[in-house]
Symmetry: C2
């Protein structure tokens, strides 16, 4: 079947033969066009938080960082400087796992665990995206809130609906932000209204890929929902497409004990849940995101590390759906790449700042439970997870090192810091623990200061 | 020693011979003076969330609720109505455990566990309250933020310093909010600069009690810091004062494994940490708050239930300081009264709304860890914990049933609910998960709409 579908794909009008993962870049001229002055903080590595009080950051014509400086170099003295005064300048947030069509359910309906929650709340809401009008209403708010919370890059599960998903991509493209967007593949173990055949999924994805052709920062990602909702045939077909066109893949892994048990029954030949993806060629064969990994350990953890699969830690969601507490330190110590996700709407907020906070807190709960054997995360580490570690999936994103795209947030924390002699590191910490979107005064993506996206008021219900 | 101190107390100018716990009330005339229309939500019991869409609440001349009505009763038709339109009206928040002199450390310095954290960050900061100027700077912000977050009643640990503590009481009194305020008693196992002898503590508390005489909603609470920082003599003396004048007591219990081990060494004759307080007459002999109870179980739990001691659950603090996860369902099932606390600055935010959210999330982590044996809390339950259950310590506070003081928050959640058909219950849930202080448009305490308290700008460092 996979072969048949691949032939259909090849015979179609899809012109893509080069890698879709990294879009071509405009030639790098490296002329400084913008210079910003602020209190600059960023994390070149997990343990290293760079702090430049009243420092300068120089951004070239391609929207990439040329360098950061404690004082302005002589040869740049004639360029105008945008001075953000005492505000903080940090890399923008990257959200590696969230479901756009679950936006309306954010902050409600979390009285169930995963499988029952999907059936009761999630699938019926996703079904509404058969209507493009409904999608425009919700997705315009979703895109607005990505911007609001300073999430400049995200990896998004849409629904099974190609029209609504192309609209979502349009809205993100128009906003100036970046994203990977995936049509959700599911052809079993879910309501019939949400099932698409493998053939239809392939044809829909092809349509989406073509639609995204001209977009500089929005690209497609193959998105089998999870093992239980995809037949072997669908998994094999998606894997074949992924490898032929070097498309990235995202899915869910080891979130909930009942789910893991179910996968064991569905794929009895697999050594573990991760191995079920691996056997179908969907586990690091191309760049791969696996959300949750709450119960990942042993052979599954080793396989992830070996295959370079990214574990997307979604702490708010794991808490809200009583999935358990992911052992991030254990994953990192085992060599697994980790990023952070809001997992809307298992997660209760799109704020990656709140997700960072909850990641810190959950890591301390794990530390207490393991009598200190698994050390909690530090402020520097969660900052790195939300910026450089997650950003790596999109390219040179999430740091202020030379060559990185200038994705940045300007933070006015005067309401948090007023009257006290906090260090810059402490001000960052207080923003993580106490900040709201109102503290973010500017949001840069690829060097552009993005204006507030418009909300579509199609109807109020 | 306790007897000597008590004689000194009796010989002093303290005129109190009646109960200090409930202040005398002005005669109840029960004339309706204020009528409010809004979407009214409150919790008469843990499981019961009352919802009145576009309902009316009638408040009498004493600031107490006369009744709630789905439509305005005929005999009240001539009274003016304050119409809050589509906004939500809920009981105000009650914070049963926080440390005012730790305000400046909120949202920073949480890289250590309890005992090391006290020595490194907390004690040096508390020492600064020897200066009344420093206290005015910090306490004016602290009181402002109680108001900002809609916390109309709180039970506060001040420091060892009587002048600063009287100033704190003054500022709360001026704001119109209610609180119990305690000078912290500690005479061992802490830096010398924070030790006060038992005699000095008694004399300081007497001074505080007299100072609070005329304040309608601010009253004293005896506050031995915790077993490790008080000698037997200090504990016995505080207990004697508590019983003679029926003063309430607050302290800490079973927060952290090292702390519990230490108490075992210090009080080897006690069966458990709670029993150490009990043996000194400080465990429900008068109304008693015990913060944390993370590791409370077995005999200690039974003793708490029997003695009517209130466990103040501080989930954000327990997570931040890696103390563990309190088993709130287990405590409640065992008959222990529970309330919520922000525990500034172990807790990272004064927002009791954020504390409710974290209480929900931690209870789900406990549910996951116990394979569902200990059911997570519901939205109704955390709302009840933050309002009626905590409010009970102050009198008839925290509900909109007849006779309750009208402590209320008006919530404009239009930025959270816009464009969607959420139920009122869902809007409350979204406020808990997504709200910020900016959503609170009015704060009522005892029937009065409180204006924003002023911040003292004595100096900026």
């Amino acid at each position: 079947m996979a072969v048949v579908v691949m032939q259909a794909w090849a015979a179609g009008s899809c012109k893509s033969t080069t890698s879709r993962h990294s879009k071509e870049q405009v030639a790098d001229t490296r002329q400084p066009v913008k210079i910003y002055k602020a209190n600059i903080l960023y994390t070149p590595s997990a343990e290293r938080l760079e702090v430049l009080a009243g420092g300068y950051i120089v951004v070239d014509a391609n929207g990439r960082v040329e360098g950061t400086y404690p004082s302005l170099p002589e040869h740049l003295k004639d360029y105008p400087v945008t001075d953000y005064g005492d505000q903080l300048l940090i890399p923008a947030m990257n959200d590696l796992h969230l479901h756009a069509p679950q936006y309306r359910n954010t902050g409600i309906a979390m009285d169930m665990q995963l499988l029952e929650w999907l059936e009761t709340y999630t699938f019926p809401e996703e079904n509404r995206f058969a209507s493009v009008d409904y999608a425009r209403n919700i997705y315009s708010r979703f895109v607005h809130d990505l911007w609001l919370h300073g999430t400049m890059r995200s990896s998004i599960f849409a629904s099974i609906h190609p029209q609504a998903t192309m609209l979502l991509a349009d809205l993100i493209d128009q906003s100036g932000m970046g994203a990977m967007v995936g049509l959700v593949g599911m052809n079993r173990n879910c309501p019939e209204y949400l099932q698409r055949s493998t053939c239809d999924y392939v044809s829909d994805m092809r349509q989406l890929i073509e639609h995204l052709e001209g977009m500089p920062r929005v690209s497609p990602i193959l998105t089998p929902r999870f093992i239980p909702s995809c037949t072997d045939d669908m998994l094999d077909t998606i894997s074949a497409i992924a490898r032929q066109y070097n498309l990235p893949v995202q899915s869910h892994l080891s979130e909930n004990p009942s789910e893991i048990e179910w996968v064991k029954q569905l794929q009895p030949e697999s050594a573990n849940y991760g191995d079920a993806y691996y056997r179908h060629g969907l586990f690091g064969h191309t760049p791969t995101l696996m959300a949750h990994c709450v119960h990942t350990d042993g052979e599954e953890l080793e396989l992830m590390a070996r295959q370079g699969v990214v574990a997307v830690h979604c702490p708010t969601s794991n808490s809200n759906l009583a999935s358990g507490t992911a052992r991030v330190r254990h994953l990192m110590d085992g060599g697994v790449k980790v990023a952070l996700g809001s997992d809307i709407s298992g997660g209760n907020t799109m704020s990656m700042v709140a997700v960072m906070q909850h990641a810190l807190q959950v890591s301390k709960i794990v530390q207490a439970r393991t009598q200190g054997r698994e050390k909690s995360l530090t402020v520097s580490e969660v900052m790195w997870l939300a910026t450089k570690s997650g950003g790596a999936f999109f390219g040179q994103i999430g740091s202020f090192e030379p060559g990185y795209e200038f994705d940045a947030l300007v933070i006015d924390d005067s309401n948090l810091a007023s009257g006290h002699d906090y260090t810059l590191m402490q001000r960052l910490e207080r923003f993580i623990y106490l900040g709201t979107p109102a503290n973010i005064t500017h949001r840069y993506c690829s060097g552009k200061d993005l204006p507030e996206p418009k909300i579509a008021d199609i109807y109020n219900k």
